[in-house]
Amino acid sequence: MAKISLATIWLDGCSGCHMSFLDMDERFLDLAGQVDILFSPLVDNKVFPDHVDVTLVEGAVSNDSDKKNIAIIRQQSTIVVAFGDCAITANVPGMRNRYPVEAVLQRAYIENAAPPQQRSNGQPSKEGISFHTVPQLARMARPIHECIPVDFFLPGCPPPPRAILYLLTEILAGRTPQMHGWTRFGA
């Protein structure tokens, strides 16, 4: 079996899918010999590599930096896997979609923060809050296949480790994974 290169990335998710990846436990030791992890929250590369065989994408697309990243990922990966329910349906991040962004920000940063008279920096005001330097929130959190074509869907919240392992093993063997029966939404 030839080695494959792997990237894993989290967009708007909870890292639970990545933790499930680590729940392969000792099987991770074998896998580490068969794949090169080129980009991942677990390794130090800052820039998405020019070419990766397989990229697992956790989380929904929720802000302008996610949008930029998902396009780069598609362009530079042969196989893109929507990894977990957030990537496939927007799941929990999508629960904010029924409110405008301003209302969501208002709750966290104005209502649930120190009252204005106690503030040292004068910001934010009652009128609203805006952020700079950090990515701007999109109106809605969306599944990744709305932004790019996706090759495989791996449902579950999170997908169980054996399903992740099966998918990678099949890809390593040059076969097309048949995910039926391995995992389900919300599992």
Binding site: I9, W10, L11, D12, G13, C14, S15, G16, C17, H18, M19, S20, L22, D23, D25, E26, L29, A32, I37, P41, L42, V43, D44, N45, K46, G59, S62, N63, S65, D66, N69, V92, P93, M95, R96, Y99, V104, L105, R107, A108, Y109, N112, A113, A114, Q118, R119, S120, N121, Q123, P124, I129, S130, F131, H132, T133, V134, P135, L137, C157, P158
Partner: protein, 471 residues
């Protein structure tokens, strides 16, 4: 013209963050900031949901410490119902929490930070990860994987699922524990103890290699906050809050978490989605405090279990007052793992653990509830309001990483001042900027009830924000 360096993404942390550094004309460091770059809006999105869904929803804030959110959430719901969960449920929740501390601390230590600690802050970034550790120290890597697995297995044996189980419920837990699963956990304890004591010995020996990191990784006076039990000992699940000052004097004690708003307020800065809680009586930013493993060991009178107590005494002897450097969080994590293994042992020996009385039932009796636990990274607060039908009307969540926000920012500045001069930034210096953040083990998914993105970039900016260069 001053320049800004940006590091993005920060790697080997749990979430999305970025560091920017302002370099003045004379090459000195003007300012440094740690930005959290994602936001998910849990406090709003739960509106209108029934209170009992909150456990499952808030677990999805974080895949690393879902148990902490489940516990804080169910405790807030317990007080909305106005019930005390039966003794067995309290014990089972505590046992579950031990599993989580073991897996989460093992993740932080072995998967995320051991590459810095074992391979060195300056090693080749290509190798500086868990796979590099597997190659260089296969035995140690394997035992780290084993230890995390033991924690995850404890969670699975209790709750049926490793991540996002639906077992902790308002009023208790929803299925009793079995003798068979108890015995399976018992059999894991010797190995867990072995791995932990062995790693502690090795880690203590290596401390002298990190003198400069110890000196600069957020090594400055602040307040510390953590939960303690009725004897003032280390407590993770059901206790009261204690705050000490930089000299170790207790300035607030036996604070009922339900009164958190009397001691904590949150400030907002427009360059980070993570809010900045501070100790209210001292104002912002003077009321800077820290939470988490080292903070907990600083505030408590001891651990209350024999092996952990020995290690605790040694830890506290590092300094005359509270242990100041956040580098020692790595050390404190190992001691807390030991404490959790011993606590597990005690719980498993208690026959009450197998009782079928595991849940108290009620309708909502109160319109407001507050739940508080110590999560692996520090104090976690869930505060809910519901209407007469038990539908959520409002929520506020203060997570561990938030409490540390001011201190992480100051820590980044301290490391920048020590390791960077001019715009010549060595790779090792960049890694140390990230490593100081890693020492806090921030959970950025939690922190903005948001996670995501990529770890870190460093960019150089002028003071007005124009980008000069990105590394």
């Amino acid at each position: 013209m001053a320049k800004t360096i940006t590091i993005e993404p920060i790697s080997r942390i749990e979430g999305h963050g970025m560091i920017t550094i302002v370099v003045e004309d004379d090459g000195s460091i003007g300012d440094a900031r740690f930005h959290v770059t994602q936001f998910r809006g849990f406090e709003k999105l739960c509106e209108g949901r029934p209170y009992y869904e909150m456990v499952s929803i808030t677990e999805r804030i974080c895949g690393i410490c879902p148990v902490s959110h489940a516990l804080a959430s169910s405790k807030a719901c317990d007080s909305i119902l106005g019930v005390h969960p039966p003794e067995t449920a309290v014990m089972l929740r505590r046992l579950l929490n031990c599993g989580e501390f073991i897996q989460s601390h093992a993740l932080s230590f072995f998967y995320l930070s051991s590459p810095d600690l074992l391979l060195g802050m300056d090693t080749d970034p290509e190798k500086r990860n868990i796979v590099g550790v597997i190659e260089a120290y296969p035995e140690l890597a394997r035992s780290g994987i084993r230890l995390r697995k033991i924690g995850q297995q404890v969670i699975e044996l209790l709750s049926g699922k490793r991540i996002h189980a639906a077992w902790v419920v308002p009023g208790g837990v929803n299925a009793p524990f079995t003798a068979e699963h108890r015995d399976t956990i018992r059999q894991m304890i010797p190995e867990a103890l072995e791995i932990t004591t062995h790693t502690l010995t090795m880690f203590k020996k290596s401390l002298e290699n990190f003198r400069e990191e110890i000196q600069t990784f957020a090594n400055f006076p602040t307040l510390f906050m953590g939960m303690v039990d009725k004897d003032g000992n280390l407590e993770h699940v059901d206790g009261r809050l204690r705050i000490i000052d930089a000299k170790g004097n207790i300035i607030a004690d036996t604070v009922d978490p339900a009164d958190y708003q009397q001691i904590i307020a949150e400030e907002v800065e427009q360059w980070s989605y993570l809010k900045f809680p501070y100790y209210k009586p001292m104002g912002y930013p003077a009321g800077i405090y820290r939470v988490g493993p080292a903070a907990r060991l600083n505030v408590c009178n001891g651990c209350g279990t024999p092996l952990a107590d020995e290690e605790w005494a040694e830890f506290r002897a590092l300094e005359r007052g509270p242990v100041m450097s956040s580098f020692f969080n790595h050390y404190a994590r190992l001691i807390e793992i030991l404490f959790c293994i011993e606590t597990m042992q005690k719980l498993l020996d208690d026959p009450a653990l197998l009782s079928p009385r595991i849940r108290a039932y009620a309708q909502p009796n109160f319109l407001e509830g507050i739940g508080c636990v110590e999560a692996p990274r520090g104090t976690l607060l869930h505060h809910y309001q519901v209407d007469e039908n038990g539908l959520m009307t409002w929520a506020n969540l203060i997570v561990a990483t938030g409490h540390n926000n001011l201190a992480m920012n100051r820590g980044v500045l301290q490391v920048a001042k020590r390791f960077i001069t001019g715009t010549e930034v060595s790779e090792g210096a960049l890694n140390r900027l990230e490593a100081v953040i890693r020492a806090f083990d921030p959970c950025l998914s939690c922190s903005t009830h948001a996670l995501g993105g990529m770890p870190f970039t460093i960019s150089f900016r002028k003071r007005d924000g124009t980008l000069l260069q990105t590394l």
